[in-house]
């Protein structure tokens, strides 16, 4: 069974979750952990109509692959498949899907979590919320939330 990083890509088209799960699955695998990030309709109380993702593509894909490789080293035997979408997404769309499959459940769960946590802090991707009122704003996770200033 091939293990490690099977697929780690920045994509422009909608993500096919089932296809990614199928790609990570294998008869030798007993556990598949999937994380799906989706665009939600409210942030800090403002009504969102869509989310625009921008990436430093050459570096983002490289960094995503580096994170997946770290997960492979930490959780040997894991099969990793992941995509992060960029462009203008609408409510409910999947922005990121991470699939980690393993013979056992603990490394499958841990590997998926490792990747999403690292992705959030290290992969050069940005998002701009489009609000129902027509306003748009880049999201800065390091800024103090409006409600907590």
């Amino acid at each position: 069974m091939e293990t490690g990083v099977l697929h780690a890509a920045i994509v422009h088209a909608p993500i096919d979750v089932s296809a990614l799960v199928a790609r990570a699955s294998h008869e030798r695998v007993g556990a598949v952990s999937v994380f799906i990030g989706t665009v939600r309709d409210l942030n800090d109380g403002r009504e969102v109509s869509g989310m625009e993702y921008e990436a430093y593509e050459g570096m983002a894909e490289r960094e995503l692959h580096a994170i997946a490789t770290e997960a492979d080293v930490r959780f040997p035997g894991v099969r990793l498949v992941m995509e992060h979408r960029v462009g203008l997404l609408t409510l409910g769309d999947a922005s990121v899907v991470i699939v980690a499959a393993h013979m056992h459940r603990a490394p499958a769960l841990d590997a998926a979590r490792y990747v999403i946590e690292a992705l959030k802090v290290r992969v050069p991707i940005w998002k701009r919320e489009h609000y129902v009122d027509g306003d748009r704003q880049w999201i800065d996770p390091t800024a103090t939330p409006v409600g907590k200033r």
């Binding site: 430093y56 570096m59 983002a60 050069p124 998002k127 800065d140």
Partner: protein, 80 residues
């Protein structure tokens, strides 16, 4: 000399461009580029110590850059 610097997202909006030519003198560190950027129009919206990547790898502010390097100033990331 001047070096091309890549900008993204809110930083590209601040400078009104996705690439800017930054005037510097050799030898040149990342912090010199940032300092030069901060006095350019729109540079007031750049923090004193932004994230920087050279040749698509994260680097410290003290890292040296040379002509031909791909230099990118990275806004706070927000993927996922």
């Amino acid at each position: 000399m001047s070096l091309p610097v890549l900008l993204f997202a809110s930083y590209a909006d601040a400078f009104g461009a996705r690439t800017v030519q930054v005037p510097v003198t050799a030898p040149c560190a990342v912090l010199d580029i940032v300092a030069a950027l901060r006095v350019m129009p729109g540079g007031d919206r750049l923090p004193a110590e932004p994230l920087v990547a050279v040749n698509r790898t994260w680097v410290e502010a003290s890292a040296l850059v040379v002509v031909g390097d791909e230099i990118a100033i990275i806004p706070p990331v927000a993927g996922g």
